[in-house]
Subunit: 172 residues, 2 copies
DNA sequence: TGGTTATTTCTGTAATTACAGAAATGTTAT
DNA sequence: ATAACATTTCTGTAATTACAGAAATAACCA
């Protein structure tokens, strides 16, 4: 697929942003390309469009599949696997939220709890145990929040966002 | 400052997590240490505790100051600068939210809008313009949401999180 | 079966990033 | 001023990460 300047620009930017959030640039670029593609793409078209090695695409796709952001599709009369990403931005967002919670928030909470237990046992300084307790409280609330948000349907998530002010006025 | 095993464990984990979110490991470790420290620390104590080079600490601190997460404090009778981080986890969270919005969401929205304008001009495929429009809508809502969240006081943010179910029941 | 094409895994290299130590700069005191 | 210490910036190296190309594996077909 030959890219237009707009597509190139978007793909470059998406790669850059993904990278800032700890996602490999190529992975984010493949994702960006699939978002723009009007139909599922086979790996070699991705190589060609992005001008990267076949192996790179293979690994990037695998990574995106690990996130649940890319699926395989078979095209009639074509032996190659074609790849597509979700069409709904909100659904993608919820998936990423779910994954990052699982990969980062949960282990952090677990580690913090271990730290707190050990700190109590080993009589660490009051300041340490207190600080850990604050962090645990924060992470627990975040965790609950993420659980609930992640369980929303894409449309509910969008509606909640659109509610905007209403939500914040609950506490403001 | 001699670290206890609990402190070490926490610092290591915090460094790891920060790193997964695109923050340099040393930077996150310095931040972790300052969170645990009962009082502001001078740079050389940080070197010693974390066993890293002085220059590394200097740069890490500068980075954290850039985020607004670390401040300089002067201690009577000591020429050295001492560093402390915020005591309130929620305030830290709001600051990070604000910064990341500024650094990542805003530029993305800007780039997306440029893409959309250029796509219209250059008659890119309908699919492309449509996809960009969806992304823009999503990023705009996220941006508004982040603006409002970021403007909350730490206590309000906490209260909003504690409200939990109530908020989600607005749409669920 | 062997031939053909698709895909993954392996291997080496290039590029980037992290970071220690040295040098330079700035600061305070005498 | 210059000595003593504090801090930042520079420079080279080590470690990691990214990634192309080759080799291996798998899938399909005739």
């Amino acid at each position: 697929m030959k890219l237009t300047p707009v597509m190139e620009k978007f793909i470059l930017h998406w790669g850059e942003m993904g990278w800032r959030w700890g996602i490999n640039r190529s992975v984010a670029q493949v994702h960006a390309l699939l978002m723009l593609a009007p139909k599922p793409l086979p790996a070699d078209e991705i190589c060609e469009s992005l001008d990267v090695a076949r192996s790179n695409v293979s690994n990037s796709i695998k990574e995106l599949q690990g996130w649940g952001l890319v699926r395989v599709v078979h095209v009639f009369g074509d032996r190659r696997e074609h790849f597509e990403t979700l069409r709904d931005v909100w659904e993608m967002f919820l998936i990423i939220l779910r994954e990052r919670k699982k990969r980062e928030i949960d282990p952090t909470l677990h580690a913090l709890r271990e730290c707190a237990t050990e700190a109590a046992k080993s009589k660490d300084a009051d300041h340490t145990t207190e600080r850990l307790a604050q962090l645990i409280e924060f992470m627990e609330l975040s965790s609950n929040w993420a659980d609930k948000a992640q369980a929303l349907s894409p449309t509910s998530a969008k509606r909640l966002c659109q509610l905007g002010d209403k939500v914040f006025r609950l506490v403001g």
